[in-house]
């Protein structure tokens, strides 16, 4: 992808009434995900403090920060894996306080995990079919007695799973045990499994970890493709700056659990606080 087309993709970013930024095209609708002043303490340690975000319906945002800054903890808060000590989270306008992880997923948040969590004893296709589980409607008795509806639905969703696998050109792995996949393919499968739950927001925790530059380049294209095709918002955590700068429209920088800067990738790259806290160590291009 040339830098010119990338440039064209850059939307106008506008300020909401809260301290959040959002692409102008998504302004008309309520944000698909909004967090207000959330924070969490582990014993005495404040892992995340006063975190705010609003995700437009088709926005791709990035969250960066040094190791241990609290990025994964934020994902765990947004998906209710951890209960926030402070603040509110709205998914599609609904307050998720007190909901289970499953309910939050049904509201429209799907995620991947930094330390891969596949259903490793199941096949690749089965992993995706678990994600389709809530769209499938057969009753237990229909399935147990193998009524025609069972077969029809299994076939239909098997085809859908193959279509999803097509995004990453992984159809040939459909019947491989997920645990036997190469590392990069496991990361991609996690993304597909998340997509199978029909999310409105996709949270990707270090999707490019362990990938080589070619694979990362391919992943960038695919992330954009997924956004365009499914019309969903994507929030990603990533250490690979080329990926963050390449696909993200808004980037937030986290340090010691606090957002220290927020803006377009260009702004972030110029921000002296960021350079000091984070990019400084790796050198700015």
């Amino acid at each position: 992808m040339s830098s010119e087309t990338k440039q064209k993709r850059r939307p106008v970013i506008v300020q909401m009434e809260s301290p959040n930024l959002i692409p102008e095209r998504d302004l008309g609708q309520i944000p698909v995900l909004e967090a207000k002043h959330i924070g969490i303490d582990f014993g005495g340690l404040t892992a995340v403090d006063d975190f705010n975000i609003a995700m437009g319906r088709t926005e791709i945002s990035g969250l960066i920060g040094p190791n241990g800054a609290g990025k994964t903890t934020i994902f765990n808060l947004l998906t209710n894996v951890y209960k926030p000590t402070r603040g509110t989270i709205l998914v599609d306008g609904y307050d998720t306080a007190g909901m289970s992880i499953t309910q939050v997923n049904k509201l429209g948040i799907a995620r991947t995990f930094q330390n891969i969590r596949l259903f490793s004893q199941m096949t690749v296709a089965q992993n995706i079919l678990v994600g389709f589980g809530n769209s499938m409607s057969t009753h237990l008795v229909t399935d147990m007695l193998r009524f025609p509806k069972h077969w029809k639905q299994e076939r239909e969703y098997r085809d859908k799973a193959m279509d999803l696998l097509g995004i990453f050109d992984m159809q040939r792995f459909a019947d491989t045990k997920a645990g036997n996949l190469p590392y990069g393919a496991q990361r991609r499968l996690e993304i597909l499994r998340a997509l199978a739950t029909h999310p409105k927001v996709l949270l990707l925790d270090e999707p490019a970890a362990g990938m080589n530059p070619n694979e990362t380049e391919e992943l960038m294209d695919n992330i954009l493709k997924i956004r365009d095709e499914f019309q969903i918002a994507i929030l990603l955590i990533e250490h690979d700056m080329s990926l963050v700068m390449g696909v993200c429209e808004v980037v937030g920088v986290l340090n010691y659990g606090k957002i220290i800067a927020k803006g377009t990738p260009e702004e972030i790259q110029r921000d002296p606080k960021v350079i000091e806290a984070y990019l400084g160590k790796q050198g700015v291009k």
């Binding site: 992880i101 499953t102 678990v130 237990l140 147990m144 792995f173 019947d175 491989t176 036997n180």
Partner: protein
């Protein structure tokens, strides 16, 4: 009796290069079902014929019935251990609930339905109806117990779940022991047991029930419900984040497991003819668990084989009955040392796939040759 069970994805990661241009012959799902049904019917018919003409003695026939019963017990426990990944230690409790309620149901319904003890030997439509209803009643009673214990127990994990289910089985045993004096009339017969149970089981109906149970458990596991259960075992947090309602599916697995344990108990009551609370103590639960662990957690064929083996072995070694638990312990320790995943791991046999391999001429030794050729190139 093995239905066409799960085949694991081939562990070889294909690199996408098509393996030869020759198209692989496949067997359609419909044909697989026909093949499996025919084989199952054949095994049952031949077995019954051998019993009828005396090549299998009455005693051996009764041992075979017990084999069938323990197959159901092991495979049903496997739902909760192998597939769901929990460790309940109270399976004998569900078995006893199913056994008592099935036996009591049949005994109390015999009068109103004008069925005598002797009708069960010849078999009439009425006895068949009683048999089916009794087993379902036993299964449902056990399933209700599974629901009552499952809801609180499944909020706990690991050791805690093991302890609470163990305690629950003990409670059931004590209830069966004392319920007569609570309700004020004879129901379970207390410590001396429930006697005079008509022998409503025989080789054929036992193994028909075994085949149906295995089929239903297999089809459940090969559906969206089964996949959700397996997903919880493989990674609970990921399952939740993927939209699996873990509370519901854990409870479902537990209840279905209890239901089939109840069915197994119902058969047991008819086969043995006497029910006594002492038979369903802690050791019975452990015996069933050993069958599952030995066969391989999550392998239906493994449970079937080890249930068969561990039921026949003690009967064959009657003289050493006292040492049975010692043998169990030794076998279990050896398996844990040399094959911690159980004899079959999570391998499952599929008759359809097996036949497919034969008609395509894929034999293990041929594969080796093909690999050698590849290595030479």
């Amino acid at each position: 009796m093995e239905e066409d069970m799960a085949t694991k994805g081939k562990p070889i990661i294909s690199t996408g290069s098509p393996k030869g241009s020759k198209k692989r012959k496949t067997i359609s799902t419909g044909k697989r079902y026909i093949i499996n049904t025919v084989l199952t019917v054949l095994v049952i018919v031949i077995g019954q014929m051998m019993i009828d003409n005396g090549s299998i003695s009455r005693y051996q026939g009764s041992v075979l019935e017990q084999v069938g019963i323990y197959i159901i017990m092991a495979v049903s426990l496997n739902i909760a251990t192998g597939y769901l990944g929990q460790l309940p230690l109270g399976h004998a409790g569900f078995m006893s609930v199913g056994g008592y309620s099935c036996a009591i149901f049949i005994m109390r319904m015999m009068g109103p339905m004008h069925v005598t003890m002797y009708d069960f030997m010849t078999g009439t439509p009425a006895t068949t109806l009683l048999f089916v209803c009794g087993l379902i009643f036993g299964g449902v009673c056990a399933a209700i117990c599974g629901l009552i214990i499952g809801i609180p127990a499944l909020r706990l994990k690991g050791d805690y779940l093991a302890i609470i289910t163990l305690g629950f089985a003990e409670i059931i045993r004590v209830v069966m022991l004392n319920i007569d004096s609570v309700v004020g009339f004879q129901l379970t017969g207390g410590a001396k047991g429930l006697t005079g149970i008509p022998s409503y089981t025989n080789f054929t109906n036992t193994f028909v029930v075994v085949a149906i149970s295995l089929f239903l458990i297999h089809t459940m596991m090969k559906s969206r419900h089964g996949r959700a259960i397996l997903a919880i075992r493989d990674n609970e947090i990921a399952a939740e984040a993927t939209g699996v309602n873990t509370t519901y599916y854990k409870t479902l697995a537990f209840v279905v497991s209890a239901f089939f344990a109840g069915v197994g108990g119902g058969l047991y009551a008819g086969c043995i003819g006497v029910m006594a609370p002492a038979k369903f103590g802690f050791m019975k639960s452990i015996e069933i668990l050993v069958m599952v662990v030995l066969g391989g957690m999550g392998s239906m064929l493994g449970s079937v084989i080890s249930a068969t083996f561990l039921t026949i072995l003690p009967e064959a070694l009657r003289a050493f009955a006292d040492y049975r638990m010692v043998v169990y312990a030794i076998v279990l320790i050896l398996v844990m040392i040399f094959r911690p995943q159980g004899l079959l791991g999570d391998y499952d046999f599929s008759m359809g796939n097996f036949l497919e391999k034969i008609i395509n001429g894929e034999f293990p030794w041929k594969k080796k040759q093909a690999e050698e050729v590849e290595a030479d190139e």
